[in-house]
């Protein structure tokens, strides 16, 4: 009997056009728009690139050439050097991808010509200042105490750092990926509508279909359970399609945690189903009112979780920190944030556990609220 129910519930739910549009097509379309809009924006605007610079220095400037070669061959090169002759410099367009500046050597010291102001120009100036400073130190030492010249040179060539780099995370620093995580979270919450249809199709006071089912010899709990399972199966498929589309078609980089992204998306999607099931089961409102309620509650929770306005979650955590721990939208987005940015699997699994516990809790509440057998009015 359960399998009979499950078979037809699944068959029916997979043909609901509203679900196809809002839970499948809409998120994929939105993801495509995101990708077109700013899919590669991180690489273009945020990720550091070597500063192109033209250098006028003949073959005799061996020290300078060695320093520049060392910089260019490092793991994250600071400069991209092109050697030019003085007569060719008039053709160089400064402040462009060709060269941000021109470095010349005069009496062993560097001079810099730039076409604008900005971070790249500052980097070039800092490089020239450092170089000139070092040259001054070496020259002074050679004149005053030639015996120490080797020690000074060694010290200057050593890396000097005022700050120590402490790596907080191995996670993805491309924060534009967060938009796609939020998209997955939104798709998961849209599952609430599918959860609501479990209530509508099984309550005699909400639909004729529910009334007919209630007249059958199949216990309501079995019918409801089959309906929920069908939504879980559907939502699992939808979440896998969503993540696969983002990863394999749009080439969104979910890093090394792709399997966990799938896991999170599936758990979050089923969390969304149980959320809709629970909200739909409470109160005596009509079918239309319950649909509106799901929309309103989802939007409010998304707003409070910061999916709409950045910084809102911080504000909520200041005034009602516990709310962030139980807000379904916040729990889902936090799971992805931890996975993407912090790369802390302990914190991540805590969030996953919270989602699983809340899923079970919501389903239990839904079952208890719908167990009533007779209605006061139909």
């Amino acid at each position: 009997m359960f399998l009979h129910n499950l078979k037809y519930e699944l068959k029916a739910v997979l043909r609901v056009k509203e679900f196809l549009i809002w839970i499948v097509i809409f998120p994929l379309a939105l993801g495509t728009v995101f990708k077109i809009g700013f899919g590669d924006i991180y690489n273009k605007t945020e990720k550091f690139k070597a500063v192109p610079v033209a250098v006028v220095a003949d073959e005799n400037e061996t020290t300078l050439r060695q320093v520049l070669e060392g910089i260019e061959n490092s793991d994250e090169p600071l400069l991209k050097v092109t050697y030019v002759k003085e007569e060719d410099t008039k053709d160089i367009e400064l402040d462009s991808s060709e060269a941000e500046g021109i470095i010349r050597v005069k009496d062993g010291r560097l001079t810099l010509a730039v076409g604008g102001r900005g971070m790249n120009e500052s980097i070039l100036k800092a490089f020239c200042d450092q170089y000139n400073s070092n040259v001054t130190v070496i020259t002074d030492t050679a004149q005053k105490d030639p015996a120490k010249i080797q020690a000074v040179t060694e010290k200057l060539t050593r890396d000097v750092a005022a700050c120590e780099v402490i790596k907080l995370t191995d996670g993805n620093t491309d924060y534009y990926v967060d938009y796609f995580y939020n998209l997955i979270a939104m798709t998961a919450l849209f599952g609430g509508y599918a959860g609501l249809t479990v209530i509508i199709n099984n309550q005699a006071n909400l639909s004729a279909l529910g009334a007919r089912k209630n007249c059958s010899p199949t216990p309501k709990s079995r019918s409801v359970l089959a309906a929920i399972c069908s939504r879980f199966i559907m939502q699992t498929g939808i979440m896998m399609i969503c993540v696969s589309y983002l990863n394999f078609v749009l080439k969104i980089n979910f890093g090394k945690n792709l399997a966990l992204v799938y896991l999170t998306a599936i758990i979050a999607g089923n969390f969304g189903i149980s959320f809709g099931f629970m909200v739909g089961s409470i109160g005596k409102a009509s079918k239309d009112s319950k649909q509106s309620l799901i929309t309103a509650v989802s939007l409010i929770l998304c707003f409070l979780s910061g999916l709409m306005v950045a910084g809102m979650k911080v504000t909520v955590s200041h005034y009602a920190p516990f709310f962030n721990e139980i807000n379904p939208a916040a729990v889902i987005s936090d799971s992805f944030y931890i996975l993407n940015t912090l790369d802390d699997l302990n914190k991540y699994f805590v969030k996953i556990a919270v989602m699983l516990v809340m899923t079970v809790l919501f389903i239990v509440i839904g079952f208890v609220a719908t167990r009533r057998r007779k209605y006061a009015s139909l």
Partner: protein, 315 residues
């Protein structure tokens, strides 16, 4: 004496200050086609919902097949087929799948279920539409699907709540013929409607309801015998004067005469040859006569005489 299938005693249902069912008692015997007739809001659907244990009631008792009906009376529910006023099917399943789904809620054996589903499809004449989705069906075909979903498991008791609302005449006839066939095959039928013609056509016993009360019960003949009117004679006339009406009213068995725009209406109570006597009076006064017809009383006349209002507005 046939067994009692449904027994309702002193049923009371209140919605705050409104009494939807006022101490309603009914007894329906096996093999009957029992009609619940009444205007909209008279309590027919409320009665059905209480009977099916969907709706809580304030007072009274309901027994089906000799057992108290409760929401968990699955053995009783197994023997009931319900056809709702509103079409209750999955829009996303085909005709075949819908019938198979609902039949499967009652019948576990796959082979039996398959046979029953095919029987139901044949019964309602949807053989050519089994792969159609409900939205592609006309109103009449949709109603037939609704019926097929309710009767596919071959129940002993079939409850039809206004199954012909918004149905074309062809489908309506098909539905009514089907109900009679189900009854011939052994099912007890409860049929609610505000269409008195349908109830008169198929029901073996009828309860007339108004404002949550049963105001009359019996066979259609018994109900008609409850009222004074036995015949209404209508004559289209030209040249009939109001002054001549008392002469007609004085005829034997005539108890009411009216003239409206040349149409003479004469209500009689018992007797024979009433029409001949009326026509003789008109001929005597050289009144020109057009169409003439005599009608037996309808259930609407019964309702009108008992409540002082018509059963329903003319469609």
């Amino acid at each position: 004496m046939a067994d009692t299938v449904v027994k309702i005693e002193g049923l009371v249902k209140r919605y705050k200050d409104l009494i939807a069912l006022d101490h309603l008692s009914l007894e329906i015997k096996e093999g009957e086609v029992f009609g619940l007739l009444g205007p909209n809001g008279s309590g027919k659907t409320t009665t059905i919902n209480c009977l099916l244990s969907l709706l809580a009631f304030d007072k009274g008792s309901i027994e089906i097949f000799g057992k108290e009906m409760t929401p968990t009376s699955y053995d009783i529910k197994r023997e009931i087929g319900i056809i709702m006023q509103n079409v209750a099917v999955f829009d996303e399943l085909t005709v075949y799948d819908n019938i198979d789904y609902f039949c499967g809620l009652y019948i576990r054996d796959k082979a039996t279920k398959k046979k029953y589903v095919e029987d139901a499809i044949r019964f309602v004449g949807l053989e050519d539409f089994i792969k159609f989705y409900p939205k592609k069906l006309s109103g009449g075909l949709l109603r037939r699907l609704n019926i097929a979903c309710g009767i596919a498991h071959k129940p002993k008791l079939i409850i039809l709540d206004e199954p012909t609302v918004a149905v074309d005449p062809q489908s309506r006839n098909k539905i009514l013929e089907g109900i009679e066939e189900l009854n011939r095959n052994g099912a007890t039928i409860i049929y609610t409607s505000h269409y008195m013609e349908e109830v008169e056509q198929i029901c073996t016993r009828i309860a007339i309801m108004d404002k949550g009360k049963k105001i009359a019960e019996g066979t259609k003949e018994e109900l008609k015998r409850m009222i004074k009117n036995t015949e209404t004679i209508t004559v289209e006339t030209r040249g009939l004067d109001e002054a001549q009406l008392p002469e007609i009213e004085a005829l034997p068995h005539v108890y009411q005469v009216s003239l409206d725009d040349g149409k003479l209406s004469v209500s009689c109570s018992g007797g024979k040859h009433n029409l001949i006597r009326v026509l003789e009076v008109l001929q005597k006064h050289e009144v020109h006569i057009g169409r003439v017809y005599s009608e037996q009383p309808t259930l609407n006349d019964v309702f009108l005489e008992i409540t002082g209002k018509a059963l329903r507005d003319k469609d």
